[in-house]
């Protein structure tokens, strides 16, 4: 597979994503400069975490106008797999590829720690390796991760099983105490209606190796690779 990792000015998890797909999952990775106007030839696109454009004004607000985002939209529209992690999720929201906005964490602080999420939908290209309801331990690191949307949109997300991850405790209970940032409905990750675009605040690339003490993140990234292999049978083994 050829996984594209977009590099915006201020991206800082770009190398981490590159490393995990290459060194851990053995895939090819192409770094895509934000001024590129095409993502042709890529099997999936990752919008990595970081502080694109310093997160000035609003997180993701300026990055969405990068030339590459036009191509990413086209790619998503044609069914290409797009994963936005943290800042990447924020960019997807600002770009309108996913509905809603990110508000400041309720503590108003940046939070870096392990949290738990429950896999609410295991039948997606991003979660097929997980059991439905499986609890993943996975780190977050953000200041603006409190997901918000209007009630109608929220109802739609719920009805279409578009809420993929919810913050929960170690036993999988979705409680207010397990919500680290005040996110609506404990939302940690959502996908679009077609199902090929996922945004998530937690960082799977930070917990995909035993030396880091946690491999839960691999389930998500490996799901993507598996999905792509099945979708592109002619490329397998090529």
């Amino acid at each position: 597979m050829n996984i594209g990792v977009v590099v915006f000015p201020g991206s800082n998890c770009d190398h981490d994503c590159e490393y995990v797909f290459k060194a851990v999952l053995g895939q090819d990775v192409t770094m895509v400069w934000h001024k590129e106007t095409s993502v042709a030839g890529l099997d999936a696109v990752i919008l990595p975490g970081g502080f694109s454009y310093g997160d000035y004004l609003r997180t993701g607000a300026i990055a969405r106008f990068s030339p590459v985002m036009h191509a990413v939209k086209g790619f998503a529209f044609e069914g290409g797999l797009v994963l936005g992690i943290c800042n990447g999720f924020q960019i997807l929201l600002e770009a309108g590829l996913l509905p809603g906005v990110m508000l400041r964490n309720k503590s108003l602080h940046f939070i870096c720690q392990d949290i738990f999420v429950r896999v609410e939908n295991g039948a997606t290209p991003f979660t097929s390796a997980c059991r439905p309801g499986q609890v993943l331990k996975i780190p977050i690191a953000h200041a603006d991760g409190s997901y918000y949307t209007d009630p109608v949109t929220l109802a739609g997300l719920q009805a279409n099983a578009q809420v993929i991850f919810r913050y929960c405790d170690a036993e999988g209970r979705v409680t207010p105490e397990a919500n680290p940032n005040g996110s609506l409905d404990n939302i940690a990750g959502i996908r679009n209606a077609q199902g090929n675009v996922l945004g998530m605040m937690p960082h799977p690339e930070r917990c995909a190796e035993s030396v880091l003490g946690n491999e839960d993140g691999q389930l998500i990234l490996a799901s993507m690779v598996e999905f792509l292999k099945k979708r592109l049978p002619k490329m397998v083994g090529a």
Binding site: A61, I62, F65, V101, L103, N105, K106, S146, Y148
Partner: protein, 79 residues
């Protein structure tokens, strides 16, 4: 021409920053302060003498970039 732009949260959208400030004011002894809301204020210079054009331009800036109209509203003056 100079544009002065206010971007504020829409009514009903939670404003954790405003809340925190209210709380802090309270503990500083300003007990009677309520409904603190925090927004953004921006100033910029436009090299544009036609008022109508300037107006259209600033509106476009706000819609596209300066405000996220899902949660924010904006208003501006030109001088």
């Amino acid at each position: 021409m100079k544009a002065k732009i206010h971007v504020t949260l829409k009514q009903g959208i939670l404003d954790p920053q405003g809340k925190a400030i209210e709380h802090a004011l309270d503990s500083l002894g300003f007990k009677k302060t309520t409904n603190v809301r925090v927004g953004k204020y921006m100033e910029l210079d436009l090299d544009q003498t036609d008022r109508a054009k300037a107006e259209a331009e600033v509106k476009a800036m706000c819609e596209k970039l300066l405000a996220n109209t899902i949660i924010e509203e904006y208003r501006f003056e030109l001088q």
